[in-house]
Amino acid sequence: MRIRKKYLFYALAFTSAIIAAGVSAIDATISALYIPNVWAFAFSCFIVGTVISLMIVLVFSIPLSRKESLGSKIIDPSFKRVRLVRKKELKLHVIAGAGNAVLTLGYLSLLSILGDPSTVLPFSQIVILYLVIIESVTEKNMPTISEIQSSIIVTFGAILVSISLTGSISLEALAIVFLVINPAWVVFSIYQRKLKLLKIDNRPNDSLNIRLWNVIFACIFTTALLLVSDFFMGTGHLIEGITASIEHFDWVALTMGITFFSYVFYIRALGIGRASVTQAVRASTVLFAIPFSLLISYFNIIPPFSTNPVMILIKTIGTILVVLGIISFALAMMKAYVFINVKPGYPIEETMKNLWNIRGVTHVTATAGKYDFIIKIRIRTLVKGYEKIIQKLEEIEAIKKFKWESVLKEWEEI
């Protein structure tokens, strides 16, 4: 299927956001009614999650033809069948799994403190600020003023939305947000993207196997963490977790089954867009969480919402800020191709390296034909294109001449 890549990207990220909002309401229900112990809940999530994820991936491994399976047909074209982790993936999976384990523990702790999912979810959106900083280091892409502005708008919007409708902010909750949830989410997100960008057997890595192995590694990490904690602190979280997994298998299986799809869509979106942009779109979960919170509040699972107009106004302003931040973040982006001819007598490898070192260059292609290189560029503004790209190209001695072609519209095979 060949469609505008951005449509697929937005569809995936928004679907993931809606599912995540629904899941948080189920999590809040389980936490309030069935498994109040955060450690036991997190552990049961990973035990049951491993079983459920394996079952789902096995179902999607059913072959439809020699080349196609059920999963490749309806979920991810890169998927073939369930497989073992490859050596080159192992390190990335260990780190992403640890990130997921810490993130889940932090998220469930926050949920047990605040109760209301529409208050908890906005806090995790502050991660966008961290991602912009990390991307500027890892992807040779300095953040522009608009990126910084958007990140700050989303961050402040999220803080406003997260002021619970009773008007209180817990310091313990803030510490969990800034020191546990967001750093863990950054690690989780960056390493999931690295995994998605890997090539396995000359095919792009698939989101179904990535998610399955992520849950397995998170389960191993949580088990180790609980073993150490139970041994030194004398607690019994491990046994409680196993008991909770058996007693409330249906509820935990429901939340982990739905979460599986939320993450599969998120991982696929990560493979298409940059981590910070994916996160920006997924931040819309803040909006989708509100009806779910109202629903569980209606059933008295969480305390009823206040009707204080000031609190409602604060929540509305926060929501608008998050949406504005997301829109400005996602829309400002331009691409270009530069066709380059080089002078004879300069080593190709060195010129290629020099081109690659220019910030904003996403592809360097050495070609045979009329041109020697074609580079692809992704920048926020044309001014940046002149300052960061053209000036740098002119500094490379080996370049004889180049031609700039701005991309107006693009279609891509997904």
């Binding site: 034909g369 009329k370 072609e405 701005s406 107006l408």
Partner: protein
């Protein structure tokens, strides 16, 4: 390509099996098509299909020898 036919040309190009990416660009060229083929013979078939589209005036082919990408 000949002016006034861009929409139809792009529609035809999107039907070509091996075309991975189609970018409409501003500059000397009008469209950049990235193609993934197993053999040069298949590349010939793709360029043939491109040139047969009504409105395509001229094509230039660049064969990728090496690539670095994010």
């Amino acid at each position: 390509m000949r002016p006034g036919k861009s929409d139809r040309i792009i529609k035809e190009m999107r039907k070509i099996e091996n075309a991975e990416k189609i970018s409409v660009v501003a500059g000397e060229y009008d469209i950049v098509v990235r193609v993934h083929v197993k053999t040069l013979e298949k590349l010939l078939k793709v360029t043939d299909k491109l040139q047969l589209i009504d409105g395509v005036k001229k094509t230039t082919t660049q064969v990728i020898e090496k690539e670095i990408a994010l």
